[in-house]
Structure formats: structure tokens, C-alpha cells
């Protein structure tokens, strides 16, 4: 089993969910996170948007102006069988790729064991 861990744009979550459900991977975990990548972001644009009042000063805007300068993203993770990894990775890349920096990253991490809490099924049985 492998854990596919993707950091993607906030507005792509719905389409990623649909695409993965269609490809036969309905289960996943998703949470809000902040982060930064290799490239530095030009914040002067965002700053001017906030000052002109075109962008509401929401939590994400606050995060942009704070000193650590992190960008809000979604942390999307699911555990799949070894043979399905390439399919999941391809689905996520196809849906999320805009060709611009900041689309995110995908990491594949080995999972040694898994259990289903309800009935104690283990490993591949517990994720299928």
C-alpha cells in the first residue's frame, strides 16, 4: 500500500474529488494548510489588491501579509494499493495542472499496515 499525499490549490478540491471518485477512489482525507514552495511569490500584487479593497481581508489574506508569508493550500491524502498509485497520481496531475508554478506537489509514501476500525480488517482488505 502507498499513501498518495498531494498539496493542491484550494479551488481544485471539488474537481479533484469528482475525478478521483470517477476513477474509483472515493475515499480521501483533506485539510487546510499553509505553505510555501521553492519559488518566491510576488506579494506586491496581493497587497495592492487588499489595499484597494478588491480582496476581502479574510483569513487567507491575513496569512499572506503575515511575516512568514505562507500561501493557503489544501492537503489531500489517500491510501491506495501499490498497483493503483500511477492511476491516482495521473488523475491528480491531469485535474490540477494549470501549467503555472504553485500547482502543488505529490508525494508517494509507503504504508506498512492498515486496519479498518469498524471490523478489524487489515491491509488491502481494509482499503478496498
Amino acid at each position: 500500500m502507498k499513501e498518495v499525499m498531494a498539496f493542491i490549490r484550494q479551488n481544485k478540491i471539488n474537481r479533484t474529488k469528482e475525478a478521483l471518485a470517477e476513477a474509483g477512489f472515493p475515499s480521501f482525507t483533506c485539510r487546510k494548510c499553509l505553505g510555501r514552495g521553492k519559488k518566491s511569490v510576488d506579494y506586491s500584487l496581493v497587497k495592492s489588491l487588499i489595499e484597494d479593497g478588491e480582496m476581502p481581508l479574510t483569513q487567507s489574506a491575513e496569512a499572506l501579509t503575515e511575516s512568514s508569508r505562507l500561501i493557503p493550500k489544501r492537503f489531500f491524502t489517500l491510501v491506495v494499493d501499490d498497483t493503483e498509485v500511477q492511476k491516482v497520481v495521473k488523475t491528480i496531475i491531469d485535474v490540477n495542472s494549470t501549467g503555472n508554478p504553485g500547482d502543488g506537489k505529490i508525494f508517494v509514501i509507503p504504508i506498512l499496515e492498515s486496519y479498518r476500525v469498524r471490523d478489524g480488517e487489515r491491509d488491502v482488505d481494509s482499503i478496498n
Binding site: 499553509l34 498509485v85 490540477n96 495542472s97 506537489k105 508525494f107 509514501i109
Partner: protein
């Protein structure tokens, strides 16, 4: 899309640290040459079973989790930077946090589909 296998060893560094130490750790990681990092709010307790203040017992202490994936050879640098800067006082205290390292088999950049870091 074709995926080519690239033999590099990558590691996921998961550091759970004090929220007030996040900004110093982030800026030190940046100046050490590790800009890419993700931050999450988490709650948890450690080996001390939480905190007891007076009669009140706190076992869900707010912490921040930093995630970053680095090359094998950079692991010690990243761990040292986090360890040095997330510590409180000279010798450190309970509750300064923990760092976990796990292997990463593959990494993809979504914008161009390239494999590797």
C-alpha cells in the same frame, strides 16, 4: 504522460513544534536553503501525558506541524535547523516537540508532471 524512474532518496520530515517558534524556524529554513515547507495546526499530547496546571488537566495541547520533503543528504541540515531554533532555553524543555522522518518513494510537480524534487 510518461513517468521515468529516477533514483533519488527522499525523506519526509514531520516536525511538531511550539506555535510561537514557527516563524523563527521558517525564516531560518529559508536562509538555510530549504524554502519549501507546509504548516498545519495540530493538537496533541506527548510523553508527559499533557499539562497539569492547578487542578486542570490539558491533554490536547496546540502545536504546529511542519512538513517538508528533502533529499537524503539534506536531512541532517534540516533536522539541525529545526532542532536548534525550536528549542526553548539552553537545554530545551518538555513540550518543545518532536521530529519524525519517513521515506518518500516518489514526488511529482503538478504544474508540469515532472518526477523528482
Amino acid at each position: 504522460m510518461r513517468f521515468t524512474q529516477e533514483v533519488t532518496y527522499m525523506l519526509l520530515v514531520r516536525a511538531i513544534i511550539r506555535p510561537e517558534k514557527v516563524s523563527i524556524v521558517l525564516s531560518e529554513l529559508l536562509s538555510a536553503g530549504f524554502p519549501a515547507v507546509t504548516k498545519m495546526d495540530v493538537f496533541g499530547r506527548g510523553r508527559q501525558k499533557g499539562l497539569k496546571i492547578g487542578d486542570v488537566f490539558y491533554d490536547e495541547i496546540p502545536k504546529e506541524m511542519l512538513l517538508c520533503v528533502v533529499r537524503d543528504e539534506d536531512k541532517d541540515d534540516v533536522v539541525n535547523v529545526i532542532m536548534r531554533n525550536a528549542r526553548t532555553g539552553e537545554k530545551g524543555n518538555f513540550g518543545d516537540g518532536r521530529i519524525f522522518i519517513s521515506p518518500v518513494e516518489d514526488a511529482y510537480t503538478i504544474s508540469n508532471g515532472k518526477q523528482g524534487l
